[in-house]
């Protein structure tokens, strides 16, 4: 039985697509057959983050209209044969697809993959409804900001209303130094409001921007950064392993400097 997981957040720009790309890649590296589905019709980005933009021939729309077969539209990753991407159409809007159609396509993909990750667009309108239509579980992304947390809270409510009970929280872009100075919401603050199980905390990391621009997911880099480790840990927790959370808050100065030193020595 394959797992269909939607990555969603409500608010835009909190890292849904980055997270989908990295988790998808990390899962594929652990020898699972993984399909990532971009549900962001009209504003697709997932192909860029995976560096697959120049390999797209067909999109989900063509599959739905019967212009091509599903296998033709699925883009195999250039590095990882276990990973495939179903791109969204860029020349359409969210209303071009109905939740039923989306469910049909995703259920078809699920037949031949272990994991289907759906990258939801921001908002709670049609695009969101399409993305959650076929999902069994959800990864709710948020950053430690009140706006993002409130939107995530709304999304959790909507997921519950859509009968998605298995939900996990990812807190992205945490700055331990700011939390210590009491200038940023802590993991505990966020968890207290959202009240769903935490599966990962990803520290704010400049390397994420570099990896995004290069189309190389973080988890692939040879000198894996703290954020990359966090993504790998999320994947292992997703598979049921119990991994202690990265020690970001306590004695962060030491940890960060130690890791930086380690990297400097290596390079």
């Amino acid at each position: 039985m394959s797992r269909i997981i939607v990555v969603t957040s409500g608010k835009g720009g909190v890292g849904k697509t980055t997270c989908t790309a990295n988790i998808g890649m990390a899962l594929a590296r652990r020898n699972h057959r993984v399909a990532v589905v971009d549900a962001d019709f009209g504003l697709r980005n997932l192909d860029l983050l995976l560096g697959l933009e120049n390999r797209i021939v067909y999109t989900a729309i063509e599959v739905l209209t019967g212009e091509c077969r599903l296998e033709q539209a699925l883009v195999k990753d250039k590095r990882q044969p276990n990973l495939a991407l179903l791109p969204a159409a860029q020349n359409r809007t969210k209303d071009a697809v109905t939740p039923e159609q989306m469910k049909q396509v995703v259920d078809e993909i699920a037949k031949s993959y272990d994991y289907v990750l759906i990258d939801s667009p921001a908002g709670i309108e049609m695009g969101f409804k399409n993305a959650v239509a076929s999902a069994h579980e959800a990864l709710v992304m948020t950053t430690p900001e009140i706006a993002a947390v409130r939107d995530a809270d709304r999304v959790v409510g909507l997921l519950e209303a859509n009968d998605i009970r298995k939900m996990h929280l990812i807190i992205n872009r945490l700055r331990p130094a700011m939390v210590q100075q009491d200038m940023m919401m802590s993991v505990k603050d966020v968890q207290e409001i959202l009240a769903i199980p935490l599966i990962g905390v990803i520290p704010d990391d400049e390397k994420v921007i570099i990896s995004t621009n290069r189309g190389e997911p973080l988890v692939l880099s040879p000198n894996i950064s703290l954020a990359g480790i966090a993504f790998n840990n999320i994947v292992r927790r997703l598979e049921g392993e119990t991994i202690p959370f990265l020690d970001l808050t306590a004695a962060h100065d030491d940890l960060f400097t130690r890791i930086r030193r380690m990297f400097r020595n290596r390079n």
């Binding site: 009140i146 809270d153 409510g157 909507l158 519950e160 209303a161 409001i193």
Partner: protein, 261 residues
């Protein structure tokens, strides 16, 4: 004055507003002589469409599933709401996971009655006289308390013509509107309104009061700009100076014991 006024006055009053007395009705469960009634809001009372009704139904089911015995028969009170076969089937399907069975449909619409008969529910059709002369008396009995075990999340609004008890947090961006008291066994971070029909003796209670705003009858107050260092279970009430907040442990005593002046 009393110990009430020395209690943490955590709110500052803003100008009073007229309370929204025409509380929009929401989907409601009610037990009446051993039967479980599912009351749908009348068609005209809400702008809420079918999607909203279904969402409210799911929310109510989720937050009260401890209370229903398996295989309880549900009587649907559809009032003047127009329901087709598909919608009735959706209601029945939604109830099934909670081991509730739709048995009977009460409606004032002919089409709804026909639809219900078509898929085999017993139907009671009655003439909608009640809606022609709505109750105009000032005094109206409050509905039974609504008890919910849930986190009230952003975007959710709970309205009830009686007292509301919530076991869980009320998050920012959500609101609870009750004609009676609002009791929150958890943290209040959203908007709470007690005595929405105008009863200024209504109370708002929470284990941890961090509201966006609280309203009692015609009074409005917001949380202080600087949050308190420590939280206690608190009670908000209306005094002659507007909404005040007292520590729960002191509130009941202050009301019961004569105050030394």
């Amino acid at each position: 004055m009393t110990s009430d006024s020395s209690a943490p006055a955590s709110v500052s009053a803003i100008s009073p507003v007229t309370a929204d007395t025409t509380a929009h009705l929401q989907v409601r469960f009610k037990t009446e002589s051993g039967r479980l009634l599912l009351l749908l809001p009348p068609e005209d009372a809400t702008a809420s469409g079918w999607a909203d009704v279904l969402q409210q139904l799911k929310h109510r089911l989720n937050s009260g599933d401890r209370f229903w015995q398996p295989y309880t028969a549900v009587h649907l009170v559809a009032r003047d709401r127009l329901l087709d076969v598909r919608q009735l089937q959706t209601i029945a399907d939604t109830l099934t996971p909670y081991q509730l069975q739709l048995k009977r449909v009460y409606t004032s619409r002919r089409q709804t009655a026909i639809a219900a008969v078509t898929i085999g529910y017993s139907v009671e059709q009655h003439v909608p006289i009640a809606h022609l002369n709505p109750p105009t008396e000032a005094g109206q009995a409050l509905a039974d308390p609504l008890y919910l075990q849930t986190t009230v999340r952003s975007g959710v609004e709970i309205r009830h013509p009686g007292t509301v008890v919530i076991l869980g947090d009320v998050n920012p961006g959500s609101s609870v509107v009750a004609d009676g008291d609002v009791i929150i066994w958890g943290t209040l971070r959203g908007v709470a309104q007690a005595g929405a029909a105008g009863n200024s003796r209504s109370l708002i209670m929470a284990l941890r009061m961090e509201p966006t705003q609280i309203r009692i009858a015609t009074q409005v107050a917001r949380a202080p700009e600087t949050p308190p260092t420590q939280y206690y279970p608190e009670v908000a009430y209306v005094s002659s100076e507007g909404i005040r907040i007292a520590r729960a442990s002191e509130f009941s005593k202050a009301r019961l014991l004569p105050q030394p002046t």
